[in-house]
């Protein structure tokens, strides 16, 4: 997995954690179980640092797609995109300019191979 894709995966995981920690119902449940969630500012700073490592156009694509999908970066298993569960054509498609990141022709999600 190339470094841009690794950074995108880290960003997606962090965004999920931030989203859940900001969800009042979810946060209350965790805090009631004994898990404090006071370090949100640390996560926000880490997110800023991480976002700077990602190619600007790729980051824009990720941010745009995040508004549509909860998971933008998804695995491909046996030529099936595990975001939309549609088969991919044999010839893979690369996102223009990034050169290294592949996306699903059906749903547009960014793919990684497992």
């Amino acid at each position: 997995m190339n470094s841009q894709l690794q950074a995108l995966v880290a960003l997606q995981d962090l965004d999920l954690m931030i989203r859940e920690a900001k969800d009042p119902k979810r946060a209350t449940q965790e805090e009631e179980l004994g898990f404090p969630l006071g370090g949100m500012d640390k996560l926000e700073r880490t997110r800023e640092r991480l976002a700077k490592q990602i190619d600007e156009r790729l980051l824009q694509l990720y941010e745009r797609m995040s508004r549509r999908y909860a998971r933008v970066v998804v695995p491909v298993e046996g030529r099936i995109c595990l975001g939309c569960f549609i088969g991919l054509p044999t010839a893979s498609r690369r996102i223009a300019d990034s050169g290294t990141v592949e996306n699903c022709e059906n749903c547009g999600r960014i793919l990684y191979r497992i």
Binding site: V9, A10, D13, L14, M17, L33, P36
Partner: protein
């Protein structure tokens, strides 16, 4: 004609269903939080739960930055969801010497339940398991039994017994 005695069967909790002998570390090698998380994630990677150990470790470290998962009384329940986790899993690890985990009460951690899951949009089971672990280990005698248990099956029986009246 004699009839077979009726056996009341209990539906196992999600926690019990996720406890697996392969995901049990009887004695952790490390004593610091960061190294322990690394040791546990490496174990998950060996069992194909963590697709990329580095990515899973990073998300767990970020979760600890949000707030320590050392809930006190010698228990830690690190938990996170990651794109690089293949399936929901619980890894149980023990440390007789104790691990420095920045726990709420400042005490070392002796029992560590690591929960990981893929980033599925709706996964109520993940949170339920978290609550079930908290409930299972709330009593000191139970924690002692888990620490002293000779093997994984004995631990599973102790945990299962905490849910028998449900």
């Amino acid at each position: 004609m004699p009839t077979a005695p009726s056996v009341e069967r209990r539906i196992e909790t999600y926690l019990e269903l996720h406890l697996r002998p392969a995901l049990f570390i009887p004695e952790l090698k490390n004593k610091k939080k960061s190294a322990v998380l690394e040791e546990m994630v490496a174990h998950l990677a060996r069992h194909q739960i963590a697709r990329q150990a580095d990515a899973v470790l990073e998300v767990l470290r970020q979760r600890e930055a949000l707030g320590s998962t050392g809930v006190g009384k010698g228990i830690a329940i690190p938990h996170a969801r990651s794109t690089m986790v293949a399936e929901r899993a619980v890894l149980l690890a023990r440390s007789s010497k104790g691990v420095e985990f920045d726990a709420a009460d400042g005490n070392p951690v002796h029992l560590c339940f690591l929960i990981v899951a893929p980033p599925t949009e709706h996964d109520p089971i993940y949170l339920q398991m978290l609550a079930q672990i908290v409930k299972a280990v709330r009593l000191a005698p139970v924690r002692r039994k888990i620490l002293d248990a000779p093997d994984f099956d004995a631990i599973r029986a102790v945990i299962g017994a905490q849910f028998t009246n449900e």
